[in-house]
Symmetry: C2
């Protein structure tokens, strides 16, 4: 009963995370109510994303150009390298405006069970970069999981010979969290990493 | 810092109802992770919606063709006409599979305060259709509001001379609702429309 073009749009919206039938319908009707210009702009912004967005050839983050704006920025601190496993986390930390060094993005984490090996996530590129750009500190901000641990330990082993300090973000109890809802691994880490007040 | 194409897509998603910064970002990254084919399909489904969807020349509902599938369906009951003020409500009632007559869609409701007069919402088309197709019953399923009431009363006045029964959906307490949260107008209507058990 619903016209095909409307149905196609509803189906498209359902590809988005957390969008079910009801929300997809709401979005589709909202698009119908938009001005023609806005609709074209919307369609274009989707079409363009795959054509325009690529990986920065230095740090592997997302960019419209060959080299991303952070790698190109001469004013940034060249001593510290912030290693993440997902390009979104670059933008996340940039928004906080707390870190002013450089970034490097891994293509995920080592996960032998799923057949993801060190060479699959671009560790070689990271190692070469640390050698070449002579960072004083490499900060791991990887997902706090077994895979994140494995990946940081693997990279640490290789970097150990070079003259570089290797750190990771502190693990522990999130500010404002209810202690009873924190998992035991986090509590264990919070205890072993305890700090004098 | 975020690449322009990514930012444009995030801004596009923010045009959707109930989608803020965080959800828009999540959607944009999800699109980045889709296959190239899916992305093109998504963009196309948006681009097509404005080009393909038009109003049915008989009932004013949304359709891909000149005449919608309901108006074209010879098996439907020609005695009852279901009048709604929004094309989505046609699909809503069709999904329930409760009504098997024809539909007519008004372009909204009469609202003198906002300058929306009877001629703006296509009442003439509805009247002509009732005259021509000789419906036995016209069922109003308009928004239960002052504007909805005004609109149904206005149309009723015109149709009164013709040989047609005019009804509206029952108003009352929704099934499962907490009585204390129901507004007084609804309670009043529920009382005056009370039924013998």
């Amino acid at each position: 009963m619903i016209p095909d073009s409307l149905n196609n749009l509803i189906e498209s919206f359902k590809m988005l995370p957390g969008v079910g039938e009801k929300s997809a319908e709401r979005f589709a009707y909202a698009v119908l109510d938009l001005d023609e210009d806005m609709v074209s702009q919307f369609a274009e912004s989707i079409e363009n994303i795959k054509n325009n967005i690529k990986r920065c050839s230095i740090c592997n983050s997302l960019t419209d150009k060959n080299i991303c704006s952070i790698c190109e920025d001469k004013t940034r601190d060249n001593n510290a390298l912030f290693v993440v496993d997902d390009p979104k986390n670059v933008f996340l930390f940039e928004k906080l405006n707390m870190f002013h060094g450089k970034y490097h993005v891994l293509n995920g984490l080592i996960n032998p069970l799923e057949g993801i090996n060190p060479e699959d996530i671009g560790i070689d590129l990271l190692i070469k970069r640390v050698e070449k750009e002579k960072f004083k500190e490499v900060i791991f901000a990887l997902k706090p999981s077994i895979e994140g641990e494995t990946t940081s330990l693997y990279i640490k082993k290789i970097l150990d010979g070079m003259n570089v300090t290797i750190t990771r973000l502190a693990s522990g109890v999130p500010i404002g969290a209810d202690m009873e809802y924190i998992d035991s691994l986090t509590l264990e880490r919070a205890l072993s990493d305890r700090k004098e007040v």
